[in-house]
Protein backbone atom coordinates (compact mmCIF):
# COMPACT_ATOMS: atom_id res chain seq x y z
CA UNK A 1 0.00 0.00 0.00
CA UNK A 2 2.79 2.28 -0.94
CA UNK A 3 1.81 5.92 -1.21
CA UNK A 4 -1.31 5.49 0.90
CA UNK A 5 -2.60 8.75 2.31
CA UNK A 6 -2.52 9.09 6.07
CA UNK A 7 -3.77 11.95 8.19
CA UNK A 8 -1.70 12.83 11.20
CA UNK A 9 -2.73 15.83 13.29
CA UNK A 10 -4.76 17.08 10.40
CA UNK A 11 -1.82 16.96 8.00
CA UNK A 12 -1.65 14.68 5.05
CA UNK A 13 1.21 12.19 4.79
CA UNK A 14 2.00 9.42 2.42
CA UNK A 15 3.06 6.07 3.70
CA UNK A 16 5.81 3.92 2.20
CA UNK A 17 6.40 0.97 4.46
CA UNK A 18 7.58 2.40 7.78
CA UNK A 19 8.11 5.79 6.22
CA UNK A 20 5.69 8.69 6.15
CA UNK A 21 6.48 11.55 3.79
CA UNK A 22 5.17 15.07 3.67
CA UNK A 23 6.24 16.29 0.28
CA UNK A 24 4.58 19.66 0.87
CA UNK A 25 7.14 20.35 3.53
CA UNK A 26 10.13 18.71 1.84
CA UNK A 27 12.53 21.25 0.37
CA UNK A 28 14.63 18.72 -1.43
CA UNK A 29 17.86 19.38 0.41
CA UNK A 30 18.95 15.78 -0.01
CA UNK A 31 20.18 15.31 3.53
CA UNK A 32 18.00 12.28 4.17
CA UNK A 33 19.08 10.84 0.86
CA UNK A 34 22.77 11.32 1.45
CA UNK A 35 22.85 9.88 4.92
CA UNK A 36 20.39 7.01 4.71
CA UNK A 37 22.57 3.98 5.43
CA UNK A 38 20.49 1.88 3.07
CA UNK A 39 20.05 4.27 0.17
CA UNK A 40 16.31 4.04 0.48
CA UNK A 41 15.56 7.61 -0.53
CA UNK A 42 16.04 9.69 -3.66
CA UNK A 43 15.29 13.16 -4.91
CA UNK A 44 12.75 13.27 -7.68
CA UNK A 45 12.37 15.28 -10.86
CA UNK A 46 10.38 17.84 -8.92
CA UNK A 47 13.31 18.27 -6.52
CA UNK A 48 11.57 16.58 -3.64
CA UNK A 49 12.22 13.38 -1.79
CA UNK A 50 10.73 10.05 -2.77
CA UNK A 51 11.08 6.51 -1.51
CA UNK A 52 13.05 4.45 -3.93
CA UNK A 53 13.73 1.21 -2.09
CA UNK A 54 11.09 0.95 0.56
CA UNK A 55 11.95 -2.64 1.26
CA UNK A 56 15.53 -1.82 2.27
CA UNK A 57 14.48 0.51 5.03
CA UNK A 58 15.58 -0.63 8.48
CA UNK A 59 13.57 2.01 10.32
CA UNK A 60 16.74 3.38 11.78
CA UNK A 61 15.04 6.84 11.90
CA UNK A 62 18.19 8.68 10.85
CA UNK A 63 16.32 10.34 8.02
CA UNK A 64 13.66 11.61 10.38
CA UNK A 65 16.21 12.82 12.89
CA UNK A 66 18.17 14.74 10.29
CA UNK A 67 15.41 16.12 8.10
CA UNK A 68 15.41 19.87 8.81
CA UNK A 69 11.84 20.17 7.57
CA UNK A 70 10.06 17.50 9.60
CA UNK A 71 9.04 16.00 6.27
CA UNK A 72 9.81 12.38 7.13
CA UNK A 73 8.48 10.29 9.98
CA UNK A 74 9.53 6.73 10.65
CA UNK A 75 7.13 4.39 12.35
CA UNK A 76 8.60 1.72 14.52
CA UNK B 1 8.25 53.11 -28.43
CA UNK B 2 6.17 54.38 -25.53
CA UNK B 3 7.49 57.00 -23.21
CA UNK B 4 7.48 54.77 -20.16
CA UNK B 5 7.66 51.03 -19.58
CA UNK B 6 7.07 49.19 -16.34
CA UNK B 7 8.38 45.68 -16.01
CA UNK B 8 8.05 43.13 -13.27
CA UNK B 9 10.23 40.03 -13.21
CA UNK B 10 8.78 37.53 -10.79
CA UNK B 11 9.50 34.02 -9.60
CA UNK B 12 11.19 32.32 -6.71
CA UNK B 13 14.37 33.12 -4.81
CA UNK B 14 17.43 31.71 -6.51
CA UNK B 15 16.14 32.16 -10.06
CA UNK B 16 18.42 35.14 -10.58
CA UNK B 17 15.70 37.72 -10.99
CA UNK B 18 17.56 40.38 -9.05
CA UNK B 19 20.48 40.11 -11.40
CA UNK B 20 18.16 40.10 -14.38
CA UNK B 21 16.50 43.27 -13.16
CA UNK B 22 19.83 44.94 -12.64
CA UNK B 23 21.03 43.96 -16.11
CA UNK B 24 17.86 45.24 -17.66
CA UNK B 25 18.23 48.51 -15.80
CA UNK B 26 21.82 48.83 -16.88
CA UNK B 27 20.95 48.09 -20.49
CA UNK B 28 18.28 50.75 -20.53
CA UNK B 29 20.09 53.30 -18.41
CA UNK B 30 23.75 53.00 -19.23
CA UNK B 31 23.68 51.66 -22.75
CA UNK B 32 20.39 52.92 -24.15
CA UNK B 33 20.69 56.19 -22.27
CA UNK B 34 17.20 56.22 -20.82
CA UNK B 35 16.11 56.93 -17.31
CA UNK B 36 15.63 53.86 -15.24
CA UNK B 37 14.77 52.74 -11.73
CA UNK B 38 14.99 49.22 -10.45
CA UNK B 39 13.46 47.99 -7.20
CA UNK B 40 12.89 44.64 -5.64
CA UNK B 41 11.26 43.05 -2.67
CA UNK B 42 12.95 41.09 0.06
CA UNK B 43 12.00 38.28 2.38
CA UNK B 44 12.29 38.48 6.16
CA UNK B 45 15.39 40.55 6.98
CA UNK B 46 17.57 40.32 3.87
CA UNK B 47 18.03 36.60 3.57
CA UNK B 48 16.65 34.33 0.95
CA UNK B 49 15.51 35.15 -2.49
CA UNK B 50 13.36 38.08 -3.27
CA UNK B 51 10.32 37.18 -5.24
CA UNK B 52 10.16 40.08 -7.62
CA UNK B 53 12.32 42.65 -9.28
CA UNK B 54 10.82 45.67 -10.93
CA UNK B 55 12.19 48.00 -13.57
CA UNK B 56 10.76 51.28 -14.78
CA UNK B 57 12.25 52.58 -18.03
CA UNK B 58 11.36 56.04 -19.23
CA UNK B 59 12.41 58.82 -21.52
CA UNK B 60 11.43 61.32 -18.85
CA UNK B 61 11.98 61.63 -15.11
CA UNK B 62 10.86 58.74 -12.97
CA UNK B 63 9.30 59.79 -9.71
CA UNK B 64 7.35 56.99 -8.09
CA UNK B 65 9.82 54.13 -8.43
CA UNK B 66 7.61 51.13 -7.95
CA UNK B 67 5.55 49.26 -10.48
CA UNK B 68 1.84 49.14 -9.85
CA UNK B 69 0.52 47.81 -13.13
CA UNK B 70 3.32 46.37 -15.21
CA UNK B 71 3.40 46.67 -18.97
CA UNK B 72 5.42 43.53 -19.01
CA UNK B 73 5.20 40.76 -16.45
CA UNK B 74 7.66 37.89 -16.45
CA UNK B 75 6.54 34.98 -14.30
CA UNK B 76 8.92 32.10 -13.75
CA UNK B 77 6.70 30.23 -11.29
CA UNK B 78 3.04 29.39 -11.08
CA UNK B 79 2.77 31.16 -7.76
CA UNK B 80 4.22 34.35 -9.17
CA UNK B 81 1.96 34.15 -12.19
CA UNK B 82 -1.16 33.71 -10.11
CA UNK B 83 -0.16 36.43 -7.71
CA UNK B 84 0.87 39.11 -10.12
CA UNK B 85 -1.16 38.47 -13.22
CA UNK B 86 -4.18 40.42 -11.95
CA UNK B 87 -2.03 43.52 -11.70
CA UNK B 88 -0.93 43.41 -15.33
CA UNK B 89 -1.76 46.59 -17.21
CA UNK B 90 -4.55 46.33 -19.73
CA UNK B 91 -2.97 45.35 -22.98
CA UNK B 92 0.23 44.44 -21.19
CA UNK B 93 2.37 41.45 -22.01
CA UNK B 94 2.65 38.35 -19.84
CA UNK B 95 5.68 36.17 -20.39
CA UNK B 96 5.72 32.86 -18.58
CA UNK B 97 8.09 29.96 -18.28
CA UNK B 98 5.94 27.08 -19.36
CA UNK B 99 8.33 24.71 -17.61
CA UNK B 100 6.91 25.91 -14.29
CA UNK B 101 3.72 27.69 -15.21
CA UNK B 102 1.19 25.14 -16.29
CA UNK B 103 -2.03 26.97 -15.62
CA UNK B 104 -2.27 30.02 -17.82
CA UNK B 105 -4.62 32.85 -17.08
CA UNK B 106 -7.39 33.50 -19.60
CA UNK B 107 -5.54 36.20 -21.47
CA UNK B 108 -4.56 36.82 -25.03
CA UNK B 109 -1.20 38.46 -24.86
CA UNK B 110 0.64 35.59 -23.25
CA UNK B 111 4.01 34.47 -24.39
CA UNK B 112 4.48 31.00 -23.01
CA UNK B 113 7.88 29.46 -23.57
CA UNK B 114 9.68 26.70 -21.71
CA UNK B 115 12.47 29.02 -20.70
CA UNK B 116 14.09 26.80 -18.11
CA UNK B 117 14.09 23.67 -20.18
CA UNK B 118 15.42 25.53 -23.19
CA UNK B 119 18.16 26.94 -20.98
CA UNK B 120 19.06 23.46 -19.88
CA UNK B 121 18.81 21.88 -23.28
CA UNK B 122 20.35 24.54 -25.45
CA UNK B 123 22.85 26.13 -23.09
CA UNK B 124 23.38 23.23 -20.78
CA UNK B 125 22.61 25.05 -17.51
CA UNK B 126 19.29 25.77 -15.86
CA UNK B 127 20.80 28.74 -14.04
CA UNK B 128 20.94 30.83 -17.19
CA UNK B 129 17.15 30.79 -17.49
CA UNK B 130 17.16 34.38 -16.28
CA UNK B 131 19.40 35.43 -19.16
CA UNK B 132 17.31 33.51 -21.63
CA UNK B 133 14.31 35.36 -20.24
CA UNK B 134 16.07 38.67 -20.81
CA UNK B 135 16.59 37.72 -24.42
CA UNK B 136 12.93 36.89 -24.81
CA UNK B 137 11.84 40.15 -23.24
CA UNK B 138 14.21 42.21 -25.37
CA UNK B 139 13.25 40.64 -28.60
CA UNK B 140 9.57 40.44 -27.92
CA UNK B 141 8.99 43.86 -26.41
CA UNK B 142 11.84 46.02 -27.58
CA UNK B 143 12.08 47.87 -24.25
CA UNK B 144 15.84 47.79 -24.59
CA UNK B 145 18.06 47.38 -27.60
CA UNK B 146 19.76 44.12 -28.35
CA UNK B 147 23.17 45.74 -28.21
CA UNK B 148 22.43 47.30 -24.84
CA UNK B 149 21.25 44.11 -23.23
CA UNK B 150 24.23 42.23 -24.60
CA UNK B 151 26.69 44.73 -23.19
CA UNK B 152 24.89 44.79 -19.87
CA UNK B 153 24.88 41.01 -19.62
CA UNK B 154 28.54 40.72 -20.44
CA UNK B 155 29.55 43.35 -17.94
CA UNK B 156 27.59 41.81 -15.06
CA UNK B 157 28.02 38.06 -15.31
CA UNK B 158 30.95 36.38 -13.51
CA UNK B 159 34.22 36.24 -15.39
CA UNK B 160 34.53 33.07 -17.39
CA UNK B 161 30.81 32.64 -17.95
CA UNK B 162 30.50 35.27 -20.68
CA UNK B 163 30.29 32.75 -23.50
CA UNK B 164 27.58 30.73 -21.89
CA UNK B 165 25.55 33.79 -21.07
CA UNK B 166 25.91 35.26 -24.49
CA UNK B 167 24.61 32.03 -25.88
CA UNK B 168 21.70 32.09 -23.45
CA UNK B 169 20.86 35.59 -24.58
CA UNK B 170 20.97 34.62 -28.22
CA UNK B 171 18.69 31.69 -27.55
CA UNK B 172 16.36 34.09 -25.82
CA UNK B 173 16.40 36.44 -28.79
CA UNK B 174 15.49 33.59 -31.05
CA UNK B 175 12.58 32.36 -28.99
CA UNK B 176 11.43 35.91 -28.56
CA UNK B 177 11.42 36.39 -32.28
CA UNK B 178 9.64 33.09 -32.78
CA UNK B 179 6.94 33.95 -30.31
CA UNK B 180 6.20 37.27 -31.81
Amino acid sequence: MSGEKVKLKGIEWKRYGPLLLNREWCKGCGICVAFCPKNVLKIGEDSKVFVDKEEDCTSCTLCELRCPDFAILVER
Amino acid sequence: MKEKYELRLSGAGGQGLMLAGLILAEAAGVYDGKNVVQTQSYGPEARGGASKSEVVISEGEIDYPKVVNPDILLALTQEACDKYYPELKEGGTLIVDSFYVKKLPPYKKVVSVPITSIAEKEVGRKVVANIVALGVITEFTGVVSREAIKEAVLSRVPKGTEKMNEKALEVGFRIGRESR
Partner: protein, 273 residues
Protein backbone atom coordinates in the same frame (compact mmCIF):
# COMPACT_ATOMS: atom_id res chain seq x y z
CA UNK C 1 7.85 9.06 15.85
CA UNK C 2 4.84 11.16 15.00
CA UNK C 3 5.17 12.47 18.53
CA UNK C 4 7.26 15.41 17.40
CA UNK C 5 4.20 16.71 15.62
CA UNK C 6 2.56 17.28 18.98
CA UNK C 7 5.11 19.94 19.71
CA UNK C 8 4.91 21.73 16.41
CA UNK C 9 2.67 24.55 15.30
CA UNK C 10 1.64 22.67 12.21
CA UNK C 11 -0.24 25.53 10.63
CA UNK C 12 2.98 27.52 10.40
CA UNK C 13 4.67 24.85 8.29
CA UNK C 14 6.57 24.69 6.00
CA UNK C 15 8.99 26.89 7.89
CA UNK C 16 11.02 29.84 6.56
CA UNK C 17 14.43 28.24 6.72
CA UNK C 18 16.32 27.55 3.49
CA UNK C 19 16.58 24.08 2.03
CA UNK C 20 19.20 22.16 3.95
CA UNK C 21 19.52 24.67 6.79
CA UNK C 22 20.48 22.95 10.02
CA UNK C 23 18.24 24.97 12.30
CA UNK C 24 15.27 22.67 11.75
CA UNK C 25 17.38 19.70 12.77
CA UNK C 26 18.23 21.42 16.05
CA UNK C 27 14.57 22.12 16.62
CA UNK C 28 13.79 18.44 16.27
CA UNK C 29 16.43 17.59 18.81
CA UNK C 30 15.09 20.11 21.34
CA UNK C 31 11.60 18.78 20.91
CA UNK C 32 12.72 15.23 21.56
CA UNK C 33 14.50 16.39 24.71
CA UNK C 34 11.33 18.02 26.03
CA UNK C 35 9.30 14.99 25.10
CA UNK C 36 11.74 12.70 26.84
CA UNK C 37 11.51 14.66 30.08
CA UNK C 38 7.72 14.62 29.83
CA UNK C 39 7.43 18.26 30.74
CA UNK C 40 4.02 19.82 30.33
CA UNK C 41 4.13 22.10 27.31
CA UNK C 42 2.52 24.85 29.36
CA UNK C 43 5.56 24.88 31.58
CA UNK C 44 8.06 25.30 28.79
CA UNK C 45 9.09 28.75 27.66
CA UNK C 46 11.19 29.09 24.55
CA UNK C 47 12.91 32.42 24.05
CA UNK C 48 14.96 33.61 21.11
CA UNK C 49 16.66 36.72 19.82
CA UNK C 50 16.73 37.84 16.21
CA UNK C 51 18.27 35.82 13.42
CA UNK C 52 17.30 32.78 11.40
CA UNK C 53 17.61 30.72 14.54
CA UNK C 54 15.46 33.28 16.29
CA UNK C 55 12.52 32.10 14.25
CA UNK C 56 12.39 28.74 16.02
CA UNK C 57 9.97 29.67 18.83
CA UNK C 58 7.34 30.55 16.24
CA UNK C 59 7.19 26.88 15.26
CA UNK C 60 7.16 25.30 18.70
CA UNK C 61 3.99 24.80 20.65
CA UNK C 62 5.28 26.20 23.95
CA UNK C 63 5.00 29.61 25.50
CA UNK C 64 7.19 31.38 22.99
CA UNK C 65 8.95 34.70 22.89
CA UNK C 66 10.90 36.21 20.02
CA UNK C 67 12.75 39.16 21.50
CA UNK C 68 15.31 41.66 20.25
CA UNK C 69 18.67 40.83 18.73
CA UNK C 70 21.03 39.54 21.38
CA UNK C 71 18.75 39.93 24.37
CA UNK C 72 17.07 36.53 24.63
CA UNK C 73 18.84 35.63 27.85
CA UNK C 74 17.83 38.80 29.63
CA UNK C 75 14.17 38.13 28.95
CA UNK C 76 14.70 34.50 29.88
CA UNK C 77 16.30 35.55 33.15
CA UNK C 78 13.24 37.62 34.03
CA UNK C 79 10.90 34.77 33.21
CA UNK C 80 12.83 32.18 35.14
CA UNK C 81 13.39 34.31 38.22
CA UNK C 82 9.79 35.52 38.25
CA UNK C 83 8.48 31.99 38.11
CA UNK C 84 11.06 29.24 38.63
CA UNK C 85 8.54 26.53 37.73
CA UNK C 86 9.21 27.23 34.06
CA UNK C 87 11.63 25.17 32.06
CA UNK C 88 13.25 27.92 30.01
CA UNK C 89 15.05 27.25 26.75
CA UNK C 90 16.75 30.00 24.78
CA UNK C 91 17.72 29.58 21.17
CA UNK C 92 20.32 31.94 19.78
CA UNK C 93 22.48 32.32 16.72
CA UNK C 94 26.22 32.83 16.97
CA UNK C 95 25.84 36.55 16.29
CA UNK C 96 22.90 36.80 18.61
CA UNK C 97 24.55 34.99 21.49
CA UNK C 98 28.15 36.05 21.06
CA UNK C 99 28.29 39.37 19.24
CA UNK C 100 25.55 41.71 20.40
CA UNK C 101 24.41 39.35 23.15
CA UNK C 102 27.78 38.31 24.54
CA UNK C 103 27.35 40.14 27.79
CA UNK C 104 24.06 38.52 28.67
CA UNK C 105 25.54 35.12 27.94
CA UNK C 106 28.48 35.49 30.30
CA UNK C 107 26.29 36.96 33.02
CA UNK C 108 23.68 34.23 32.79
CA UNK C 109 26.53 31.75 33.01
CA UNK C 110 28.00 33.57 36.00
CA UNK C 111 24.67 33.56 37.84
CA UNK C 112 24.21 29.90 36.99
CA UNK C 113 20.53 30.42 36.43
CA UNK C 114 18.58 27.35 35.37
CA UNK C 115 18.22 28.02 31.66
CA UNK C 116 19.17 25.85 28.71
CA UNK C 117 20.93 28.02 26.17
CA UNK C 118 21.24 26.61 22.68
CA UNK C 119 23.72 28.43 20.48
CA UNK C 120 23.26 27.55 16.85
CA UNK C 121 26.66 28.25 15.42
CA UNK C 122 26.62 28.48 11.66
CA UNK C 123 29.74 30.70 11.65
CA UNK C 124 27.87 33.60 10.10
CA UNK C 125 25.04 36.10 10.29
CA UNK C 126 22.55 34.07 8.30
CA UNK C 127 19.49 36.27 8.48
CA UNK C 128 21.16 39.44 7.29
CA UNK C 129 22.85 37.74 4.40
CA UNK C 130 26.27 36.63 5.47
CA UNK C 131 28.30 39.14 7.44
CA UNK C 132 31.04 37.71 9.62
CA UNK C 133 30.28 36.71 13.17
CA UNK C 134 32.52 36.27 16.22
CA UNK C 135 32.82 32.59 15.30
CA UNK C 136 33.70 33.01 11.62
CA UNK C 137 37.00 31.19 11.19
CA UNK C 138 40.13 33.15 10.27
CA UNK C 139 40.45 33.43 6.53
CA UNK C 140 36.83 32.62 5.74
CA UNK C 141 34.89 34.89 3.48
CA UNK C 142 31.83 36.87 4.40
CA UNK C 143 30.07 39.84 2.87
CA UNK C 144 31.95 42.05 5.32
CA UNK C 145 35.14 40.02 5.04
CA UNK C 146 35.78 40.16 1.30
CA UNK C 147 39.51 39.64 1.85
CA UNK C 148 39.04 36.84 4.34
CA UNK C 149 38.33 37.17 8.05
CA UNK C 150 41.13 38.75 10.10
CA UNK C 151 39.47 38.70 13.50
CA UNK C 152 40.16 35.57 15.49
CA UNK C 153 37.00 33.72 16.50
CA UNK C 154 35.88 32.91 20.02
CA UNK C 155 36.28 29.44 21.30
CA UNK C 156 32.71 29.48 22.53
CA UNK C 157 33.07 26.81 25.14
CA UNK C 158 36.21 28.31 26.63
CA UNK C 159 34.47 31.64 26.89
CA UNK C 160 31.56 30.07 28.72
CA UNK C 161 33.78 28.00 30.89
CA UNK C 162 35.50 31.21 31.90
CA UNK C 163 32.16 32.72 32.88
CA UNK C 164 30.46 30.08 34.95
CA UNK C 165 27.73 27.60 33.86
CA UNK C 166 27.09 24.07 35.06
CA UNK C 167 26.87 22.21 31.81
CA UNK C 168 28.78 22.83 28.62
CA UNK C 169 28.57 20.78 25.46
CA UNK C 170 29.13 20.98 21.74
CA UNK C 171 27.37 18.92 19.11
CA UNK C 172 26.73 19.00 15.41
CA UNK C 173 23.56 18.44 13.46
CA UNK C 174 25.32 15.62 11.64
CA UNK C 175 25.92 13.71 14.87
CA UNK C 176 22.27 13.76 15.59
CA UNK C 177 21.94 11.00 18.16
CA UNK C 178 24.79 12.48 20.14
CA UNK C 179 23.16 15.90 19.84
CA UNK C 180 19.93 14.49 21.24
CA UNK C 181 21.86 13.25 24.25
CA UNK C 182 23.70 16.53 24.77
CA UNK C 183 20.59 18.67 24.55
CA UNK C 184 18.58 16.35 26.70
CA UNK C 185 21.38 16.40 29.28
CA UNK C 186 21.36 20.19 29.23
CA UNK C 187 17.64 20.34 29.67
CA UNK C 188 17.79 18.05 32.65
CA UNK C 189 20.57 20.03 34.27
CA UNK C 190 19.61 22.31 37.14
CA UNK C 191 21.72 25.34 36.38
CA UNK C 192 22.94 27.22 33.37
CA UNK C 193 23.53 24.81 30.50
CA UNK C 194 25.01 25.71 27.14
CA UNK C 195 24.91 23.52 24.10
CA UNK C 196 26.71 24.90 21.09
CA UNK C 197 25.42 23.23 17.96
CA UNK C 198 27.45 23.40 14.80
CA UNK C 199 24.98 23.80 12.00
CA UNK C 200 25.22 24.49 8.31
CA UNK C 201 24.08 27.65 6.63
CA UNK C 202 24.41 26.73 2.99
CA UNK C 203 22.91 30.03 1.84
CA UNK C 204 24.97 32.66 3.57
CA UNK C 205 28.11 30.81 4.56
CA UNK C 206 28.53 27.64 2.54
CA UNK C 207 28.06 29.24 -0.83
CA UNK C 208 30.49 32.09 -0.28
CA UNK C 209 33.09 29.70 1.07
CA UNK C 210 32.65 27.16 -1.68
CA UNK C 211 31.63 24.45 0.70
CA UNK C 212 29.02 22.93 -1.55
CA UNK C 213 25.57 21.79 -0.58
CA UNK C 214 24.11 21.27 2.86
CA UNK C 215 25.02 17.62 2.47
CA UNK C 216 28.65 18.50 1.79
CA UNK C 217 28.67 20.79 4.75
CA UNK C 218 27.35 18.06 7.00
CA UNK C 219 30.01 15.71 5.75
CA UNK C 220 32.57 18.24 6.93
CA UNK C 221 30.96 18.17 10.37
CA UNK C 222 31.73 14.51 10.39
CA UNK C 223 35.26 14.86 9.10
CA UNK C 224 36.36 17.93 10.96
CA UNK C 225 35.20 17.09 14.46
CA UNK C 226 36.45 14.62 17.03
CA UNK C 227 34.75 13.41 20.19
CA UNK C 228 36.13 14.84 23.38
CA UNK C 229 37.28 11.44 24.65
CA UNK C 230 39.29 10.83 21.56
CA UNK C 231 40.65 14.36 21.51
CA UNK C 232 42.16 13.87 24.94
CA UNK C 233 44.47 11.29 23.47
CA UNK C 234 45.43 13.36 20.46
CA UNK C 235 48.44 15.61 20.14
CA UNK C 236 48.18 19.31 19.44
CA UNK C 237 49.37 18.65 15.93
CA UNK C 238 46.71 16.06 15.31
CA UNK C 239 44.03 18.36 16.70
CA UNK C 240 44.88 21.15 14.33
CA UNK C 241 41.86 22.09 12.23
CA UNK C 242 39.66 19.80 14.29
CA UNK C 243 36.76 20.81 16.43
CA UNK C 244 36.20 18.84 19.59
CA UNK C 245 32.64 17.84 20.33
CA UNK C 246 30.85 16.21 23.22
CA UNK C 247 30.24 16.99 26.86
CA UNK C 248 32.83 19.35 28.32
CA UNK C 249 31.46 20.13 31.72
CA UNK C 250 28.72 18.73 33.91
CA UNK C 251 29.01 20.11 37.39
CA UNK C 252 26.83 20.47 40.45
CA UNK C 253 26.69 24.11 41.51
CA UNK C 254 24.12 26.09 43.43
CA UNK C 255 21.48 27.35 41.06
CA UNK C 256 20.54 31.00 41.08
CA UNK C 257 16.78 30.94 41.59
CA UNK C 258 17.23 28.40 44.36
CA UNK C 259 19.72 30.67 46.06
CA UNK C 260 17.24 33.45 45.66
CA UNK C 261 14.51 31.42 47.33
CA UNK C 262 16.80 31.09 50.31
CA UNK C 263 17.36 34.82 50.29
CA UNK C 264 13.61 35.31 50.39
CA UNK C 265 13.32 33.00 53.36
CA UNK C 266 16.00 35.00 55.14
CA UNK C 267 14.39 38.32 54.27
CA UNK C 268 11.03 37.17 55.53
CA UNK C 269 12.65 36.11 58.77
CA UNK C 270 14.29 39.51 59.17
CA UNK C 271 11.01 41.14 58.32
CA UNK C 272 9.03 39.25 60.90
CA UNK C 273 11.37 40.31 63.67
Amino acid sequence: MAKSLEYIRLDKFPHVWCPGCGIGIVMGSIIRAVDKMEINKNDVVMVSGIGCSGRMPGYCDFNTLHTTHGRALSFATGIKLANPKFKVITVMGDGDALAIGGNHLIHAARRNIDILAIIINNWIYGMTGGQYSPTTPLGSFATTAPYGQVEPPFDVLKLIKGSGASYIARGTVYHIRELDKLISGGLQKKGFAVVEVISQCPTSFGRRNKMGSAVEMMKRQKEETVPVKKAEKMSKEELKGKIVRGLFLDEERDEYTERYEKLIAKAKEVHQK
